[in-house]
């Protein structure tokens, strides 16, 4: 194991958060979509776990509770739901956060490099998801209905992260909830439209979920 330089609390919290997401992704893919497991991602997750250190920092932070609830909600029971929640949505969210971290002046040099690797690993998964989803569910309308069913509760729970994300990461890392969600929603919309889903219905769905309606 390589020697890890001590990192500051905020960066450790970010890695601990991302580690929790990656851990769920690995478990979900192993259970339902083994095609999305890759050695490269597995190695990356190990490195993130090393970097994060103890998970206590997450559980003791203001984002710990909301993330725990979100991840519980994001635990899917079947292949289609896993592809939608994990493969399509949370990988995109992860990619956005890794990209922001990779560009953050508040991150250490090692942290920025690791974040770049994370972004690359997410992108590799995202590249494989469309063909798997198309094979699993035929037709844009059917895919959109499945996406709505699977992701509704998870999207609703994203709101609970807002306050904690802004409190913990906005000032030191310049990562804030509105920017993350803007980037995330913009990319997710294009991903979904690329899968034949109707844009206006998607926008209305996402808006409604974020509004808690």
């Amino acid at each position: 194991m390589s020697v890890i330089e001590p990192i500051d609390r905020v960066e450790a919290l970010l890695w601990s958060t991302l580690c929790a997401f990656e851990d769920l992704a690995q478990r979900q893919y192993r259970a339902h979509v083994p095609e999305l497991l890759s050695d490269a991602k597995a190695r990356f997750v190990e490195r993130v776990a090393e970097r994060a250190g103890s998970s206590a920092i997450l559980s003791e932070s203001s984002v710990g509770g909301p993330i725990g609830r979100l991840l519980a909600r994001a635990t899917a029971e079947d292949r289609a739901a896993t592809l939608n929640i994990q493969g399509l949505m949370l990988e995109r969210l992860g990619l956005v956060i890794y990209q922001m971290a990779a560009e953050s002046d508040g991150m250490s040099e090692e942290g920025r490099a690791l974040a770049s690797e994370g972004a690359e690993a997410c992108q590799q998964v995202l590249d494989r998801v469309p063909s798997l989803l198309k094979a699993e569910i035929s037709g844009g309308d059917a895919r959109l209905s499945a996406f709505e069913r699977s992701t509704s509760a998870v999207i609703q729970d994203l709101d609970a992260l807002g306050e904690g994300v802004d409190r913990e990461f906005s000032e030191p890392l310049d990562i804030n909830y509105a920017d993350v969600m803007g980037e995330f929603a913009g990319e997710l919309l294009e991903d979904c439209v690329g899968l034949g889903m109707e844009r206006r219905r998607l926008v209305v769905f996402l808006t409604g979920q974020l509004m808690g309606l």
Binding site: D159, G162, Y177, A178, G182, G186, V204, M211, L213
Partner: protein, 251 residues
């Protein structure tokens, strides 16, 4: 048709409360739009006649809506409308004093019209509950589209081959403009639900309409979407947490 010939359907106290506020916003919003187009007409002599025509059309919308209110026992809530429109009027005045026609065109032609189109269209599906409103809202909707088409064409020609300048303009105007008008959208979402429309549907339509307008003028689709979502997120969060989106509280 006279008042006595119209059968006003019985409505709940909540629906009456909501429709009074929504029609107040529609009536006084149209009057505000007429004022804005008149101010714009003063800044661009080449377009004075056309913009005065737009202003007159907006004024007519207000008159039609007011007439429909009278026929339906709806009392447009002026205090509510003033509360919502005050922030907009102060922005419009500041842009006018600065001689900033393009900023006024973004605020009125894109942002305000996006709100109007996002609500008037879905209203048509429940207009049968309010006799006489179908024709008024359909005509108003058609004319708002006409205004937007002109504004789009103006921006397209004005910023052809220099989209970066248009991006800079929208960046400058959007933050306050969307905070104001998007804030109103959030503040009326529950009222829309109460009268049988969907606040989420209208909010989504407004975001999508505005994104489409930015795209039509030359901003790349994904960038436009991200920009609009980023601006709406703080408003959506305030809505979700039951907070007013503007400095002054909404009753």
């Amino acid at each position: 048709m006279t008042v006595s010939e119209i059968n006003v359907l019985p409505r709940s106290k909540e629906e009456q409360y909501s429709i009074n506020k929504l029609m107040g916003l529609a009536v006084f919003g149209e009057i505000t739009a007429a004022r804005t187009y008149n101010l714009m007409a003063q800044l661009k002599p080449d377009y004075t006649a056309l913009l005065k025509k737009f202003a007159k059309m907006e004024g007519q919308h207000a008159a039609w809506f007011l007439s429909a209110c009278r026929k339906n026992d709806v009392e447009p809530d002026r205090a509510f409308a003033d509360n919502e429109l005050g922030y907009l009027i102060s922005q419009v005045d500041a842009h006018f004093e600065a001689g900033d026609f393009d900023a006024l065109a973004v605020v009125q032609g894109f942002i305000v019209e996006s709100l109007a189109i996002a609500t008037y269209g879905p209203f048509l599906s429940i207009a049968h509950k309010y006799p006489g409103t179908q024709q008024a809202f359909q005509k108003a909707l058609d004319e708002e589209h006409y205004h937007v088409e002109w504004i789009k064409r103006y921006f397209y020609l004005r910023f052809y081959d220099c989209e970066d300048e248009f991006v800079a303009l929208t960046d400058r105007v959007n933050v306050q403009g969307v905070d104001c008008i998007g804030g109103t959208m959030m503040n009326i979402a529950r009222l829309l639900d109460t009268i049988g429309m969907s606040g989420a549907d209208c909010a989504g339509r407004m975001m999508e309409n505005y994104t489409g307008l930015l795209r039509d003028v030359g901003i790349e689709q994904k960038a436009a979407t991200k920009n609009v979502v980023r601006l709406f997120m703080p408003l959506i969060r305030k809505y979700r947490h039951g907070e007013s989106t503007k400095a002054s509280a909404v009753a």
